[in-house]
């Protein structure tokens, strides 16, 4: 059914079809995970029209981006897609470094690659676990969350915060990793395939799960392109597009031979689930290849470039370090940026997360526009759900992986 303009529900349930009734779904509803709201017009149990109402978590991220400097904004970017925070940081600093024309060190590239792939795994785990939970499969959720805890552990070992690492900085990372982290990642690479097989075994041939996802929420390839979908949603519909291959960034150029782009055909919920499962396995291959090849050397770019925060030793023991620290933290100094604008995007778990950064010469963004994949994907939801049953709403929502903080910002 082609998408129609969203007109208010009162007009739809007009005079000729007055047996239609309206159901308010959310904003506080378990299947919406967070704060999504749908106004459904129903014919019995069939959905005639769905009008999403969003903004229940709008917190002014982009306004904050104009108030905080590049390094401070990392804390806010973290909270955007809060189930894979590290990937957001990577995308943000990718854009900032593009603006400032910084080439980060090989070691930093590899570390960022590994950690953002771990973030992708934890994102997909939560998406699959929660989607299964909404369809009644609690066990898969518990299995998935157990694996997420391992990723949390690695993040905590690396950065000190288990949930929002805030680990990236302009031109590098907050600190280098220790050998413990590498050991933990290695052991995770060993244990994860078993958990992946467990979840596969629980869901892939689960009659209820397959019946409730197959053929539900179909998105054709043309529609996926026309509506701007990216990431697993587009790939499940057959759009072969992955920024990791198409516009290789970080260490993906070196690791290109170690992974494949997972695509689906049908564009329904089951395909999206299968693409996510496949992507987790591919991510594991990337991590496996990368963790054995982490180059040596510093994680931050050269201190003389006056772009990175000097470490404690340099700050307290050398006058250059102290001056640079001072320069980067004074509100009227910071970085010197070109009066230009730049768009940088990376392939996060949900799709293409881009930032459009306008700089006015100061160390703060004049405008930090986000291109949130959840926002684009949720806009497609009404056309996916029309004609389906009301019990298909959780299935479609779960497969789209809408994160409200990224949706509303």
């Amino acid at each position: 059914m082609p998408i129609e303009a969203a007109t208010p529900v009162e007009d739809v349930a007009g005079a000729d079809r007055e047996y239609l009734y309206t159901l308010n779904f959310g904003p506080q509803h378990p299947a919406t995970h967070t704060t999504l709201r749908l106004i459904l017009t129903l014919d019995g149990e069939t959905i005639v029209k769905a009008v999403p109402d969003i903004g229940y978590l709008h917190s002014g991220f982009e306004k904050l981006g104009e108030d905080l400097d590049f390094n401070q904004y990392v804390t806010v970017v973290d909270r955007m897609n809060y189930i894979s925070p590290f990937a957001n940081e990577c995308a943000w600093f990718h854009t900032v470094e593009k603006l400032l024309d910084i080439e980060i060190t090989p070691r930093c590239k590899y570390l960022r690659t590994i950690l953002s792939e771990l973030a992708r795994i934890s994102d997909h785990l939560l998406c699959i676990g929660a989607a299964a939970l909404d369809l009644g499969a609690l066990t898969a959720f518990l299995y998935a969350f157990n694996q997420r805890e391992m990723v949390y552990d690695i993040m905590e070992f690396a950065s000190g915060q288990r949930f929002h690492p805030s680990y990236c900085r302009v031109g590098g990372l907050m600190a280098d990793i220790s050998d413990d982290v590498v050991a933990k990642i290695r052991s995770y690479v060993k244990t994860f395939p078993k958990a992946h097989a467990d979840i596969t075994g629980l869901l892939n041939r689960n009659r209820i799960f397959v019946d409730r996802t197959k053929g539900i929420g179909v998105l054709s390839k043309e529609e996926a392109i026309n509506t701007g979908c990216t990431g697993p949603v587009a790939r499940a519909a057959g759009v072969v597009r992955d920024l990791r291959k198409d516009e290789p960034y970080l260490a993906y150029k070196d690791l290109a031979s170690s992974f494949k782009v997972v695509c689906g055909k049908g564009g329904d919920c089951l395909n999206r689930y299968l693409v996510r499962m496949g992507e987790m396995a591919e991510s594991m291959k990337i991590i496996h290849a990368a963790v054995e090849n982490i180059p040596g050397g510093p994680v931050n770019v050269n201190l003389e470039d006056k772009l990175t925060i000097p470490d404690k030793n340099a700050t307290y023991r050398s006058i250059e370090g102290l001056i640079q620290h001072f320069e980067l933290f004074m509100w009227n100094r910071r970085w010197e940026t070109p009066v230009e604008e730049v768009y940088g995007a990376q392939e996060t778990a949900n799709g293409e997360l881009g930032f459009y950064l306008v700089a006015d010469g100061s160390g703060k963004a004049f405008r930090a526009r986000t291109r949130p994949p959840s926002f684009i994907h949720f806009a497609v939801f009404p056309q996916m759900i029309e004609g389906h049953q009301i019990s298909d709403v959780p299935a479609v929502l779960g497969s789209l992986n809408i994160i409200a903080a990224e949706l509303d910002r």
């Binding site: 982009e62 306004k63 701007g228 604008e341 768009y343 293409e352 004049f366 405008r367 526009r369």
Partner: protein
């Protein structure tokens, strides 16, 4: 020179300027002709140059920006999904009635993104079928991402009634 520029130059002579920064290629319209040229230009890019995905629409308020002549800029990020080529088209509009044509007819993805630009900057998209606020409450009267709106607002966030234990 990219192939799309030849097509554009032939169809819209002297209507736009181009610029490049890092790997971003931009086609910039001026404040005067944005309203007239934007829609046909994007249509030409879609139908003749293969830019089939509108990945992003972002608003910018250029108040007090160094060297800016127009106030509101709207950036259209186009992608050619076959070649992976990207292009950014920039249009401008001004007070008191900031208006641009809606591209909803061509790309369904413009639906919500145009609503968001309207919500945050007050730029009206003429031809959009359902232009209303998307993120802020319906009653909200300001456009929060404009530069003359303070970060902490005017105190709207505190104006709710308080529920005490006695009420419940």
């Amino acid at each position: 020179m990219p192939a799309y520029l030849d097509t554009l130059n032939a169809k819209f002579p002297k209507a736009f300027t181009t610029s490049t920064f890092r790997d971003n290629h931009r086609v910039v319209l001026s404040g005067e002709n944005s309203y007239a040229v934007l829609f046909p230009l994007l249509k030409c890019l879609k139908t003749e140059c293969g830019f089939d995905m509108l990945g992003e629409i972002g608003g910018i308020d250029y108040l007090n920006y160094p060297g800016a002549t127009d106030r509101y800029g709207v950036v259209y990020g186009l992608t050619n999904t076959t070649t992976g080529e990207r292009l950014f088209v920039k249009a401008f509009t001004n007070d008191p009635e900031p208006e641009l044509p809606s591209v909803y007819e061509m790309w369904k993805s413009a639906d919500w993104m145009e609503r968001e630009v309207y919500d945050m900057y007050g730029v009206k998209f003429v031809g959009h079928p359902d232009l209303r606020r998307i993120l802020m409450p319906h009653e909200f009267a300001a456009f929060p991402l404009r530069k003359d709106y303070p970060l902490r607002g005017y105190g709207e966030r505190h104006n709710f009634q308080t529920v005490t234990r006695a009420d419940s």
